[in-house]
Symmetry: C2
Subunit: 209 residues, 2 copies
């Protein structure tokens, strides 16, 4: 794959080779890309599931528009957002920063108050939406990491989020499924792999000012 | 930078070297990462501005919490979302797919109708929000592209979106600014570069099932 521009090599894989598995080393690289993804204020309002159990995948397939990628992929990533964030969470994050950087907490107090007033200044709906947006940055990082490792992927919004939350026990952890992303290796019979990538002309969507 | 894990090398740059400019080749790489970013159904509900004009940057700084990155960066990316999407837009996208892949449009009709019913089935607010989420995937791709090229960046939600829309003439194009991202090269005096990256423990946010 390295002979081709990775941006053109990547595509939303329709058929995975069910026998081709991502190695433990590569899987760790993908997990790292999520753990170290940027988020607003570094607050990481997320949680990531990596599903390889065939029984669990089989349970998720019918609530994912029956898409074969769910069961045929090597690993199914489910990127989740927190459903709430309060001052205590933000203070825990600030304490974590202070501890990791051997700072006294007084040094972070003004910053902590700024984060709290920013986050709690949003309505509950805005806050939930904002946390879910951060998960899309992590999705971008995961897809990009796959692309650089020659691993195929297929980001999916098309699944029953309520049922995912129920089956994966997310509600009781104050989490919700945002996007699913099967990863693995394309099947030789995936005709979608050869299709020309379709994008608006750069001159129509990029302006230099 | 290649001696260090790029994920650890990357950080939200606080001070850019105002004299260090991204080369035209590298800038094209960053633009490509946006143009080829994935989006739901490939609908690309976005528009990207690349600001290098010092006068325009100076106008944007006071409405960006006066953050020095706005004026000191090499290029300021402003990632925008469409504010509306109708059936005509989706049909144009479908026609573009058919044309690019030399298919007759009948082959794409069922897919077109599926996209239309999915997108128009959302409320106006849900649709606007969903388009903005896609922009966060592009942000992830841009940040990741910077990281791989050793280019510094600083994603920002903290700016006055209404005023950005006004100054950049976005409203009349049915667009809105979603995130800003100064890119360039860190100043040697940016003490933030040496700070330990703070993340929740992997075992607390990643579950293997």
């Amino acid at each position: 794959m390295t002979t081709k521009n990775p941006l053109l090599w990547r595509y939303a894989t329709k058929l995975f080779d069910p026998d081709a598995k991502v190695s433990p080393e590569d899987l760790q690289y993908l997990v790292d890309s999520l753990v170290y993804s940027p988020s607003s204020f570094g607050l990481q309002p997320w949680h990531f599931l990596v599903v390889s159990d065939p029984h669990l995948k089989a349970k998720l397939k019918p609530i994912s528009w029956n898409q074969p990628q769910i069961t045929d992929c090597s690993h199914l990533f489910v990127l989740c957002a927190r459903t709430s964030m309060d001052a205590a969470y933000i203070e825990r994050h600030a304490a974590h920063i202070a501890e990791s950087r051997s700072m006294t907490s007084s040094k972070t107090d003004a910053y902590t108050q700024m984060m709290i007033s920013n986050v709690l200044g949003k309505s509950e709906d805005q806050r939930a939406d904002w946390m879910q947006r951060q998960v899309y940055i992590a999705l971008g990082f995961l897809l990009s990491a796959c692309m650089h490792k020659g691993i195929d992927s297929c980001p999916m919004e098309g699944f029953d989020k309520d049922k995912y939350d129920e089956i994966l026990g997310l509600k009781e952890q104050s989490l919700t499924a945002v996007v699913a992303c099967p990863v693995g290796y394309r099947s030789k019979s995936d005709s979608a792999a050869a299709l020309k990538k379709v994008r608006w002309n750069e001159s129509d969507i990029v302006e230099h000012l």
